[in-house]
């Protein structure tokens, strides 16, 4: 038996759905859970859980948990300006990032200046390797991520400093997950009954950073893994909390998430990065919601090294409503562009590009009842 099989067992799943449905019957009119993480969105629809939960009376909506999606266009436009303006550049980034459309086009469709090029990488290590192997080139790693990927990006900066890799810098778009949840709650735009917290991010940060949501705002929530059974355990926990009137941060992913998180990774982040105000697509500037390289790593900070100013604007391009999708206000199929002028082959916004973007997930995994 494959180790994941027991987390996909359809009998266990059917029993959990029945239980969720039973608890749901005793609750109020609306039961809407925001799955914060794009990987949850993907798993829910890939396994057909969305329709099963809907039949049980639970509506799942996706939130701001896709780093490619929430990174404002200004970052991509800066990367594109570097590519077209410099003749010695290797821009290293993750595949999804190259396809995000902006007012200056996408990185993929940009013709770099002669001598410059784009290299798709899978891990920050590869960007360091590019810098070592190409001393005559300027390597810019366009690194984007939440707490899950941030530690490895931070380590890349530290390694570059230790090796004195003078031709290496990071154009960083680093985001932390708890602040946008506060923004979703305080805006009151969407009525949410509880939050399904991201499993991978929680492996790093632990339970504590989510506690204010239960304590200060009274919202139930559960950390969950990404297999169908994990997700349903999380949903059941949230419904039980609503039922009992006792909101908390439940941990339904204890096989991976320790209450305190990964303290080594946290220390690495604290050593190399510092909190900063950051602008999120659709949410605007949120205090202390991003991380940037500390002053001593300035030589490896693309913005500082080249004296750039990223034009961070939260808004989407004409017609695109990714911002509303990221706030949970709009369900992707309700966007007028969805599947007509915005498709995976010709995306109009990042949520149709990213592997875990809500729009791509909805078009790829179309559930049926």
């Amino acid at each position: 038996m494959n180790p994941t099989d027991r987390f996909r067992d359809k009998n266990v799943i059917a029993a959990l759905i029945r239980e969720i449905s039973d608890i749901r019957k005793g609750l109020g009119a609306v039961c809407r859970i925001m799955e914060v993480c794009g990987t949850h969105t993907m798993s829910i629809h890939r396994h057909g859980l969305g329709a099963m939960l809907e039949a049980a009376g639970v509506e799942m909506i996706s939130g701001p948990g896709c780093p490619v999606c929430i990174t404002p266009d200004g970052f991509h436009e800066t990367a594109i300006d570097l590519l077209t303006g410099r003749s010695d550049l290797i821009l290293a980034t993750f595949g999804d990032m190259t396809r995000v459309p902006t007012s200056k086009g996408s990185i993929q469709r940009t013709a770099p200046a002669r001598g410059s090029s784009v290299k798709i990488i899978y891990s920050p290590d590869e960007s360091l390797e590019l810098a070592r192997a190409n001393p005559a080139k300027e390597v810019v790693f366009f690194g984007v991520g939440f707490e899950t990927t941030i530690p490895s990006i931070a380590v890349a900066a530290k390694t570059a400093a230790a090796e004195k890799l003078r031709n290496y810098s990071i154009l960083s778009a680093l985001w932390t997950i708890p602040p946008p949840l506060r923004a979703v709650i305080t805006s009151g735009e969407v009525r949410v009954s509880g939050f399904l917290y991201p499993g991978h991010v929680s492996v790093i940060i632990g339970e504590t950073p989510f506690k204010f949501i239960a304590r200060d705002f009274g919202y139930p929530g559960a950390i969950a893994g990404f297999e169908p059974v994990d997700i349903l355990l999380g949903v059941r926990s949230i419904l039980r909390q609503i039922d009992a009137g006792r909101p908390e941060v439940a941990n339904e992913y204890s096989r991976a998430v320790k209450p305190e998180g990964n303290t080594i990774a946290q220390r690495i982040m604290a050593d190399i990065l510092e909190p900063s105000d950051a602008c999120w697509r659709g949410l605007g500037v949120l205090p202390a919601s991003g991380l940037r390289l500390k002053k001593e790593f300035g030589k490896h900070d693309t913005e500082k090294k080249f004296g750039l100013k990223i034009d961070s604007h939260e808004s989407d391009r004409l017609g695109c409503r990714c911002g509303e999708v990221l706030r949970g206000v709009l369900s992707p199929p309700d966007c007028p562009l969805f599947g007509s002028s915005c498709t995976p082959d010709s995306p109009r916004g990042p949520c149709m590009v990213s592997f875990e973007g809500a729009c791509l997930v909805h078009i790829k995994y179309r559930e049926r009842m």
Binding site: R8, K10, R46, H47, G48, A51, S123, R368
Partner: protein, 331 residues
């Protein structure tokens, strides 16, 4: 200056773009009734079936095979699934200047072995050489002639008919990806590249329709069938055989095995009352050991023309043909 529209790699993926290209440019250009049927091989007068295929796989040698073996088996399989017994092949070689003779000899030996195993003769051929940089090592074209033994009957497909898969999915794609070093980790997966002659007798045992699972994978091929018949198709995720390494690679890389190419697997449709017997027959052959009934025609969930997956979790979703390129130059 306006930008002239150009061919993109996506066209070669065997997905929707390819179908639009064939329907929009190829068919109107030649307007031939045999071509218009879009079968893997065309049935011609005097019981002859005819097909052609070009092979550009990168790398030329991969775990479980090479471009030579692929060029024989791919064309042989197009005949088999079209209801024809493969007999004769042509061999067209396009060689890049500078190609090592040792590699060419290896490929030729592999062609000889594969042809013998599939019972086909190489009866005509052609060789061209292009300058360095104008090709990539070698490309092969083979055309195949077969004797028609049965006529596929997609229009005879009825609700309740069963969908059978002859083996595990995706080994060829995963072997190619691993051979290109795209994983950053080692893989033990070998390509499933094989001649499917063993399927021929099943045409006489009631099989209505067969396709080999190449570019676009199982999901694309069954979506195309669904679009051609007045019923939906339903397949069950948990009955679809997958090898452990393919499953692991798919999980790690986030790719869907339902869209991965094989080079030695086929999907069959047979009436319900014959399906178990055919399954037992498939399983008795080494290439069909992992065969399974994976679904049926009809079902309560889908609408006409739809391919529905019942997930192992018990949910349902629509499967659509592959649209964008997963992996260029896989065959």
């Amino acid at each position: 200056m306006t930008k002239e529209a150009r061919v993109s790699l996506e066209l070669g993926s065997g997905g929707r773009t390819m179908r639009e290209f064939i329907a929009g440019r190829i068919l109107p250009a030649f307007a031939d009734p045999a071509l218009g049927l879009l079968l893997d091989a065309s049935h011609l007068p005097a019981g002859i079936a005819f097909t052609t295929d070009s092979y550009v796989v990168d790398p030329v040698v991969f775990p479980g095979g090479d471009i030579g073996k692929l060029a024989v088996n791919g064309t042989v399989n197009d005949l088999v699934v079209s209801g024809a017994e493969p007999r004769f092949l042509s061999l067209g070689l396009i060689l890049e200047e500078g190609l090592e003779w040792s590699l060419l000899d290896r490929v030729l030996a592999s062609i000889r072995r594969a042809a013998r195993a599939a019972g086909v003769r190489i009866v005509t051929g052609d060789t061209k050489v292009v300058r360095q940089g104008q090709g990539d090592k070698l490309f092969i074209n083979t055309s195949g002639i077969g004797r028609v033994i049965a006529r596929p009957r997609p229009k005879g497909v009825r609700p309740g008919d069963r969908i059978l898969l002859t083996g595990t999915l995706g080994e060829h794609s995963v072997a190619i990806m691993a051979a290109r070093g795209e994983f950053g980790f080692e893989s033990s997966v070998k390509s499933d590249c094989a001649a499917l002659n063993f399927l021929l007798p099943f045409w006489k045992r009631g099989v209505l329709w067969m396709r080999d699972i190449t570019r676009g994978g199982l999901a694309t091929i069954l979506s195309e069938l669904a679009a051609d018949i007045p019923y939906p198709l339903l397949i069950e995720e948990e009955s679809i055989p997958l090898s452990r390494p393919v499953r692991a690679a798919a999980e790690l890389l986030g790719i869907d095995p339902l869209y991965l190419a094989c080079e030695g697997r086929a999907v069959l449709i047979a009436p319900e009352n014959k399906a178990e017997g055919i399954l037992a027959g498939l399983k008795s052959h080494p290439l069909g050991r992992k065969a399974a009934i994976i679904g049926k025609v009809g079902g309560e969930i889908g609408k006409k023309g739809e391919l529905i997956l019942r997930t192992s979790a018990g949910g349902h979703r629509l499967l659509e043909p592959l649209t964008s390129e997963l992996l260029p130059r896989i065959c």
